[in-house]
Amino acid sequence: MKFTYFHLMPYPYLPPDFEERFSSPSLTFPNGYFDPALGVELYHRYLDELEYADQLGFDGIAVNEHHQTAYGLMPSPNIMAAALARRTSRAKLMVLGNAIAIREDPLRVAEEIAMLDHLSRGRVVSGFVRGIGWEYFAHSINPTRSRARFEEAHDLIIKAWTTREPFQWISPNYEFRYVNVWPRPLQEPHPPIYIPGAGSSETMRWVAEHRYSYMSVYAPVSVTKRWFDGYRNAAAELGYEPDPEKIVMSVPLYVAETDELAHAEARGHVEWLFHKGLKQGPEIIFPPGYMSASSMRGTLMSGMRGYAAMSYDDLLREGIVVAGSPDSVGEQLERLRDELGFGAMNLLMCIGDMPHERVVKNMELFASQVMPAFRESPPPATEPAPAPQQ
């Protein structure tokens, strides 16, 4: 099993009346609430935590892109990855991912990832995302063109990385008459690609076609299972079985000395993440056209409740969050692995407004008392993929 230490870099200093006054920390929560004196310390603290994960033996350290939100302070994940590139030496440097569909110029992503690949001596993993719904409001990009822009931008970036002479690119959403990206990436043919999915059947099929890694977002185990099965089915229809390490479960995780202590210490921070950080209405998550009709139907029929309606105990019961003593966390991860068939985990261990000391204890206990058991065991024997649907 591979473990990635993922950071959201939240801004935890929300006003006490945040929940009554604001519908979301994203898009319209005024940036007057950002205190630069606190912000500067946060960036250095969060980068220290990512560097420490490299030292503790996590396989990857991961950052991602969000805009106009207190939920995550990384409008440019590539800048964070650059800050980490020369301060770490072993872990994969995972950008999960660049929101290529909302960029006017996808070639800038091709250039920056290629530079990062050199700065990190070939440790970069490149995630590509469409961007969250509210980012289409924030960037005035038409969400009805989201999927087309994503696929065109992806095709352009891959071609820019793998073509050794200038070429012209013309597609419905982009036109570049001279594409000739310097530098090319260090890794051949290009850095590994991760794609987060949130249930879109188009994404599952697309990721399987490209043989990329498919990563879940926070969801109940029953829903994640449907997504991973969808990805495996799509691969089976294409005639192959994906490597379990290309199926990646994302989960906030907290370990403490005992179950009781873990829940007592995690509860408030988990509630911050799901009730404040992820507070958002469907109107900003699903702008028109962002979802296809079939994916929207799937989402509506899945019966997933909004996070606001889920208590800490609900989140644990649904498997959206994992917490407990080292032994019980180890058992939960085994159970999840056996049920879902993943071979890699993307762990959020600085959960919501969790203070630094607690994050460090969480990381140390996990690295010393949970991770080793998963290192010694061979990768799980996955169940054969279900037969393709007719």
Partner: protein, 266 residues
């Protein structure tokens, strides 16, 4: 051709299909007399409304669903309002509408204005019901995409009690999402406007009436005023006790104001 009794009964008017380039569209039609082409806004597609029935007493009313709305195919090649103009010129020809009166509500008002700019000889009269389409940065149009369904109903009607009840079953939500998607395709960016339209409105050479509802919480009055000012000879009337969903909230007042104007337009 429909009969008079069908024209006044909202339930008797059945959708019809018209083959167009790339697929087909759905439209409602009833009444007889000179043709009246009605272009709907973000709300109200696919329904024969009371205002349609009133107009159908004196006109052959044709109310098509825009591509991607209600019963019409998506027609992916119709990407923007410029494409919609050619689409409707084709529809007018296919349905053999001889110089129709053109009535457009909100987004449909924008499309109607663009049609009258592009083909001023093809229409008998133009009526714009609180149209969008002009870019006036100091008087922004409300962001309908940022509203929850309940907020949208509050914003569209002066008296939200007059809004249709919300039925949150999956099929209704999906149909509304499809309509919103079609609207976003044409209006997300530039938001609800063609930044060049104001320079072209002087080309409109047909009698024009602009109606603005007194409690419009979506489109500020400056937009109706600007249209009336830039279209030669256009009139501007205000409908009291009414929100942006003009013909849905005050069907009789709106239908009769339009009817009076059309009778005087010849």
């Amino acid at each position: 051709m429909s009969t008079d009794s069908q024209a006044t009964d909202h339930h008797a008017v059945r959708p019809q299909r018209l083959a167009v380039s790339g697929g087909s569209i759905s439209y409602l039609s009833a009444g007889s007399g000179p043709p009246l082409l009605f272009l709907h806004g973000g709300a109200g597609a696919g329904v024969w409304h009371e205002a349609h029935a009133i107009w159908a007493r004196e006109h052959r009313v044709i109310a098509p669903d825009h591509p991607g709305f209600a019963g019409s195919d998506e027609l992916a090649e119709v990407e923007g309002v410029d494409d919609l103009v050619y689409h409707y010129l084709d529809v007018i020809e296919a349905l053999e509408l001889e110089r129709p009166a053109l009535v457009g509500a909100s987004f449909g008002g924008w499309v109607a204005a663009e049609l009258a700019v592009a083909a001023p000889d093809r229409f008998r009269a133009l009526v714009l019901l609180s149209p969008v389409g002009l870019r006036i940065p100091e008087h922004p149009i409300a962001d309908v995409f940022f509203m929850r369904p309940d907020q949208l109903a509050q914003a569209l009607f002066a008296d939200p009690a007059r809004a249709p009840a919300l039925t949150p079953d999956v099929d209704t939500v999906l149909a509304a999402y499809r309509d919103q998607t079609a609207l976003a395709r044409f209006t997300w960016s530039p938001f609800m406007s063609n930044p060049k339209l104001h320079r072209r409105l002087g080309r409109i050479a047909v009698p024009t009436l602009v109606l603005w509802p007194e409690q419009d919480r979506i489109v500020p009055r400056a937009h109706a005023e600007r249209y009336a000012q830039l279209i030669p000879g256009a009139g501007l009337e205000t409908i009291p006790d009414c929100g942006h969903a003009l013909h849905l909230e005050q069907p009789q007042a709106v239908a009769h104001a339009v009817g009076r104007f059309l009778r005087g337009a010849d």
